[in-house]
Amino acid sequence: MNLLGAITNLVKDYAEVEDDQLTRATDPVRDLHLNSYDMMSIIGRLESDLGVEIAERDVRRLVTLGDLDDYIKAKLQT
């Protein structure tokens, strides 16, 4: 499974949503109505599952699933 697939699978644990509703442009807060607690849980799980650190200062600019995908890919390459 690619990284975006892993991210969307994780998001589906927190939102009642179909696969075709999740794209790189999906904003989990605006489009799926997840709250801060959901987002912190998701980010924490991504860190644990993928072995990356997502810095607090970066969280605010990770708006869409595509942002998360790009950010984690860059982290995994460094």
């Binding site: 709250n35 607690y37 912190m40 849980s41 924490g44 860190e47 607090e56 969280v59 605010r60």
Partner: protein, 195 residues
């Protein structure tokens, strides 16, 4: 005075429903607390998503929602509120949001789930009052919760308080100001049918 209103109803499951309920609750709080007519309470949001009354920047408002609950507040003080429903704590959120001393206190608590959501909602209420939202170094925010539920934030000019009168929910309030009445909370529960 912090004029707050809460609605607890299992039907509040969608963001649209929660948003609609929050608007009505806020109009109620602004009308009762500040004499503002409903027509003059349109909200705007800043870049961090913090709401404000467009025509009355002197009034501070805060909104929180979770599954089954909406909490709003209005005050002349800078405030933040948060509500969460009690459920098993998420260990990833625990590690992400609480510092080691807080995690230790949560895990040693006779009711770790409730203790966790006390810390979580208190931190969220502070972040909302400050207006930074997610992205703040939240682990650096040291929160204390005494066994009787009295709460405080270390090294910050802020008052925080918990309200756990409603079964299954934890409510938290924060005021960054400490003038007369700035930390007095007048909380009213409203029913969905009466919104």
């Amino acid at each position: 005075m912090i004029r707050a209103a809460v609605c607890l109803d299992a039907r509040l499951r969608t963001h649209q429903g929660q948003h609609a309920a929050a608007e009505v609750l806020l109009q109620h709080a602004l009308g009762n607390g500040f004499g503002l007519p409903a027509a003059g309470t349109d909200l705007v949001h800043d870049s961090c998503g913090r709401p404000a009354v467009a025509a009355h920047p002197e009034v501070h408002v805060s909104v929180s929602h979770c599954e089954g609950a909406v909490l709003v507040a209005a005050s002349s003080a800078r405030i933040g509120v948060d509500v969460e429903w009690l459920r098993p704590l998420d260990r990833f959120a625990l590690a992400r949001m609480l510092n080691p001393a807080e995690i230790d206190r949560v895990l040693r608590s006779p009711d770790p789930d409730r203790e966790f959501f006390r810390y979580w909602t208190l931190k969220e209420s502070y972040l909302k009052a400050v207006g930074t939202g997610l992205g703040y170094a939240v682990k650096d925010l040291d929160v204390d919760v005494a066994p009787d539920g009295t709460a405080s934030v270390r090294s910050r000019q802020a008052w925080v308080g918990l309200d756990e009168r409603f079964e299954g929910y934890v409510l938290a309030f924060c005021s960054l100001d400490s003038g007369p009445g700035d930390t007095d909370v007048a909380l009213e529960r409203r029913e969905l049918t009466r919104l």
